[in-house]
Amino acid sequence: MKKRPSIKKRRTKNDVNSGISSVDQSNHESVECISSSLSMNIESIKKRTGHSPDIKFRKVDIGKNSGMKSVIVYVQGLVDEITVTDFIIESIMNSPRFSSEIMPQEAIGIISEEVVSMGGITTEEKWDSLYLSLLSGDTVIFVEGSNVALIASTQGGETRSIQESTTNTVVRGPKEGFTESITTNIAMVRRIINNPDLWVESMKIGSVTNTDVSIMYINGIAEKKIVGEIRSRLKKINIDSVLESGYIEQLIEDGTMTPFPTLHNTERPDVVAGTLLEGSIAIFVDGTPFVLLGPALFIQFFQSPEDYYNRFFIASATRFLRIFVFIISLIGPALYVAVTTFDQSMIPTQLLIMIAAQRESVPFPAIVEALIMEVMFEILREAGLRMPKAIGSTISIVGALVIGQAAVQAGIVSPAMVIIVSITAIASFATPSYSMAISARLLRFVFMISAATFGTYGIIMVFILVLVHLCSLRSFGVPYMSPLAPLIPSEVGDTVVRRPLSGRKARPKLTTADNKIREGEHQKPQAAKDTGMVNAFYQKRGKRGSK
């Protein structure tokens, strides 16, 4: 009870290090503003950062013979050092503009306006914001005698270059995936949507980590109310750290008590662009390649970016397949258990005898068998994920041998069960979204247990329960199951199936504001009316042939 208000107080002051050094608090608060003495400034930075060696102080004389001194401060590794030396240090040292008559206050102005040839340069008087910029990779320039510091934007340093996305791979479509740097990520989306209406708002979240978080939306397409809702939910977050977008996701979703994800995440700029165009809002978090998208609908988790790049027949078929496969991955083992232990009368005799023959030598009840296999599979999967890649393949071979062959030969599990579990496993990988696949993973066990106690009836009841739950969910106020329930007939074309692009006239109703029209009239491809463009020679031959 006692802790909370104090955190809040510090937050409002936007203190960088509030959580860490409460010892310095009294000393530090008395000198909120930068002093005009260089040595004092250096001293206070050193004290504040605990003499961290990666904070570099570079003393530089201003001009050749002005006699003024300055200190350039930056954090090694966060800044682009070439920029610092080339455009700041060198220009300040060699600039002919300075003479001994110039006052320190003027020097600041001259440096920022005439000397440093760089894009972003601002002045700063307060320590708080100065630390923020310094620690996010800017370079600070102090001038002896001036109580204003210059901040040059020199962010850089080593970051991961843009690579192919590893979690959402496609055969056809752009290969690039987001990186950990928020600026790069925003730029990647900007490169796709060249439009001034693409708006970005940024804020810092996390009282200790001060992580950059930006929301991005297309003005005019995104619903204002939803943007406001997301903004206010983000503003409400009061937490010490944000290490990944998952933190944000869990803090702003509509409800915690659900196995289903109510925010979408992706590693691909084209997905972000595509969903932005449907009125969604993207949330970028610095330090992670995963971008959140909301409001998210259930059906979106079964859509792959590739659906829109392929022709609609294929896309529709694969979408259909994915949903089918998702249901299989949910109830596959449960159905096996129900059919072998309760509703034997519901399967054809031949099949029943086949399964019975396999079960003959298995010493466990069907549910135990199913649980053993499922748990085994979960162990394999988890092991495969955590292992170094080189060992990963070994795991899969061992797993395949252990589960597929040895277990069956030893009579511990029946071959039919192995088939079921494999299908389930493969099915769960066929869901494009990882976060949806893992929720199915959990529900699968619920289904299995209900099947073991009540057979098919149990499965149906849990199925209805899950469905009711899905229908009760909302993502930022948008019903989770829309446009299926509530039914929006004009949008069903982009759910279980995907209609041809020429038919996608409007954006989703629930999430878009004014700009609802996607494409002009008469977009349907048509065959050429006359065949004049065909090679004349060929035409003649054709005519001759017809004669």
């Binding site: 309760f342 519901m346 057979g455 149990g458 149906i460 209805i464 009711v468 739950h469 329930a485």
Partner: protein
């Protein structure tokens, strides 16, 4: 009343699922013998009139559920009392349907599972649904109606393809004239399942476009009537009137007789899914109406608090209601329609309509004078 809005399509779907619910599975209008399907159609026609009454009643009190406008029409005390009777009626019907469901499951699939457990599992799901409110019921309906529809269509296709239909089983049509059929329609089929839509008076206020109520109501009654009649005709033509009348679940027998290509057989699961989905909506709607009704009668602010206790009441009642299924059925066939359905579905609404029209006229007159 909760803050919720449902579309006319959702209402339509809900009403259709509600009426198909249990009626699809149990034999109805059996006294009309092979003309049972005609009796259903006639019952449907009669139900149109009922729908007009309900719509008229609602017109006078737009935006209010049945239990609320009863207070307006009959005065606070008497209104509350009658409203409470309606709550009892809804709970009782929910319990009856739940018993039907439980016994069906026990008879055809899980003979050794206790009825209490089967019903208990079901009512827990219903409680969750009711707790989530009418919007969620409506949305779930939208999703499941697709499944129900697909099942029905494939069922009809399978029946037709497997060549089981013998239209001669339906003959002679109107063996003893049209009178007995009309009698059955008025005695039985109009109340069950069509007349039971009176429960939707509790749900009409949530409709976004209140002017569409009549259209939706009539449409849903017509669609479900045609469906029921078609299914009954199929039942009779496949297994004959004798077996249909003797069966507790003629549809199950029909489904079990499908055998196609050596693989499409033993489709009992069809019946199970139809059974559970249909019953689910029927019980959910009744339970929802009972919960909101009781909340309004006793002025409880959060109706959802009542969901669990009333669910339990339905569960207990479904067990207590009869010692054996024959008792349950004979009560359902001989007594409930005449002594329970008739007053609640026809007499009381008519009476209310008359009073309301007087009151409304008076009011409009005084308004005119001013």
């Amino acid at each position: 009343m909760e803050k919720a809005k449902i579309s006319s399509y959702q209402l339509f779907v809900l009403m259709v699922l509600f009426q198909l619910g249990s009626a699809l599975l149990v034999p109805i209008g059996m006294e009309a013998k092979q003309d049972a399907w005609l009796a259903i159609l006639m019952g449907m026609t009669a139900a149109f009139i009922l729908m007009y009454i309900y719509d008229g009643l609602y017109r006078y009190n737009e935006g209010k559920p049945l239990t609320e406008f009863l207070k307006d029409i009959l005065g606070n005390f008497l209104g509350r009392f009658v409203a409470f009777l309606y709550v009892l009626y809804f709970v009782y019907l929910a319990a009856r349907v739940l018993r039907d469901l439980g016994v069906a499951l026990l008879t055809f699939a899980y003979p050794f599972t206790p009825l209490f457990v089967v019903n208990g599992i079901f009512i827990l799901v219903v409680i969750y649904t009711v707790y989530k409110g009418v919007e969620v019921i409506a949305r779930t309906g939208e999703l499941l109606v697709v499944l129900e529809f697909l099942l029905a269509v494939t069922f009809i296709i399978l029946i037709v393809v497997s060549g089981l239909i013998q239209v001669s089983n339906l003959k002679p049509v109107l063996e003893e004239g049209v009178l007995p059929v009309i009698k059955v329609a008025l005695k039985e089929t109009v109340y069950f399942p069509f007349g039971e839509v009176i429960v939707f008076l509790m749900i009409f206020p949530y409709l976004k476009q209140p002017e569409k109520i009549k259209k939706v109501g009539i449409g849903s009654i017509a669609l479900s009537g045609i469906f029921l009649s078609l299914f009954m005709a199929i039942n009779i033509s496949v297994i004959g009137i004798n077996l249909t009348a003797r069966s507790h679940y003629p549809l199950l027998t029909v489904i079990q007789s499908i055998e196609l290509t050596g693989f499409l057989e033993r489709l009992d699961i069809y019946f199970l899914v139809l059974l559970v989905i249909g019953m689910f909506f029927k019980i959910s709607v009744f339970a929802y109406a009972a919960v909101t009704g009781a909340a309004s009668v006793f002025s409880i602010k959060k109706p959802s608090r009542l969901a669990y206790p009333i669910g339990m009441v339905i569960l207990l009642l479904s067990i207590v209601i009869a010692s054996n299924y024959s008792e349950h059925i004979s009560e359902g066939v001989n007594i409930v329609p005449l002594y329970i359905h008739l007053p609640f579905q026809v007499i009381m609404p008519l009476f209310l309509l008359v009073i309301a029209s007087f009151k409304y006229k008076k009011k409009s007159k005084t308004a005119d004078e001013k």
